[in-house]
Point group: C2
Chain length 231, copies 2
DNA sequence: AAATTGCAAGAGCACTGCTCTCGCTGTGGA
DNA sequence: TCCACAGCGAGAGCAGTGCTCTTGCAATTT
């Protein structure tokens, strides 16, 4: 009974994983626009209508792939961060940023899936928001655990109240230990990293940047200075 | 003869503009994925095959729209910059950045067209690269004409040689008057602005930012400080 | 006035996402 | 142990897509 039930359910899981695997392969080959359910089914020796037992719609399959991509990226970054001594904020920052870029350049089409143009009538379910926060949480932890108490940075200018435009409760959960007046710089650094990768992967740097890898390291370094993560 | 010839050619131009107009409308309504040549033709009271006299392929139509979008954005920013006194670098910077965001939020689908996921087998013709540089040139001019001679910024750290990874010749054309050791910060500011808009329009700020307009102003301000544009 | 060229129409091909109906088969309850 | 049921794959079919090719008309060029 339970084993029998499980075997059926397990078969279902296996099929779903197989479908996603083929879909990922096709996306890697021909980008997301070239992903067709019929081709997935052909590749699996199935008839197209059979796929609809597992994913009611193409968008549903894409949503599953998006979730996986977020989690895959998140896991990669978490691992890279974990390899560095906790106290070495700068080392953790550099390792994490490099892990993000490494994942993005290795999986450009999946990067496009999650950070590119949203799919048309698509509204991100809360699940994806959580998964998306995973990588942000790593960066947040690094900043929060940095021993640098946010020393007054140069001439003390009156900081505008960030609670006017930021969701401070949500941000406090993502980067505990970071002072609210540092939220803006943190978000800017996060934006800079992904803006860089988007520009690199989507071709906006053509004609201006000839070695994105080297530049990225310098950018990460500048951001570390701005975030006072450098020893 | 010449008038007759011109009338024919003019009619052709008119038709092309009409097609692009309808296409733009459809994109605004249903995003780029929802743009179909057949629907454009239907909207124009034509049969679908007739459109192929003007655009050999769907991608060709998209390319034309991309070019128009770049130029439209470029023109908007140039105008905003032109309204501010030349010597007021900070004012020009703020006005230009706001013009970029204004255009982007008013034309989100066209923004996605040019800064979102590239269309599949598509390689940007040099034309689009030039058009894309138009807005970068405005920002470059502001920095180049700023009276601030790049004063040594705090503790003089040895700058890495940016010519290792940047196309310095190309950059010199875009931002004449800017010292090469400032290229990195300039590119980072450019990346930050468009990274911000991409995150805002593509929904990455959901749950963390509640008023992107206010935040943008603070970001632009921070960038101005980093670029030493503030008086 | 004749020849050429530009154009819209229409049929048609290969493809897509998606629906529905039909049998087969393994599963869980009686 | 048997039986009803649910899950599944197959197949046909609908409406839509980008794109091609041929045909005939009309405007332009010579």
């Amino acid at each position: 009974m339970s084993t029998a039930t499980n075997s059926r359910a397990r078969a279902r899981e296996t099929h779903i994983e197989a479908i996603k695997g083929v879909a990922r392969k096709l996306i890697a080959e021909k980008s997301v626009a070239g992903l067709s359910l019929r081709e997935v089914s052909r590749e699996m020796g199935l008839v197209s209508s059979a796929l609809y037992r597992y994913f009611a719609t193409r968008d549903e399959l894409l949503t599953a792939l998006i979730l996986d991509a977020y989690n895959d990226l998140g896991r990669s970054v978490e691992r890279a961060d974990a390899k560095v001594a906790r106290a070495d904020a700068y080392g953790r920052w550099k390792a994490s940023a490099r892990a993000i870029r490494r994942w993005a350049t290795k999986n450009p089409h999946e990067y496009a899936l999650i950070y590119g143009t949203p799919i048309p009538g698509y509204v991100a379910p809360t699940e994806t928001i959580d998964a998306a926060a995973r990588v942000a949480r790593v960066l947040g932890a690094i900043m929060g655990e940095s021993r640098q108490t946010s020393a007054p940075s140069g001439p003390r200018r009156k900081k505008s109240d960030v609670s006017r435009y930021l969701e401070v409760e949500g941000l406090a959960a993502i980067m505990p230990g970071v002072a609210p007046e540092d939220y803006l710089k943190a978000l800017m650094a996060w934006t800079e990293i992904f803006g860089f990768l988007t520009f690199e992967l989507f071709g906006q740097y053509v004609g201006t940047v000839k070695n994105a890898s080297l530049m990225f390291d310098d950018v990460v370094n500048e951001l570390a200075i701005s975030l006072k993560l450098k020893p």
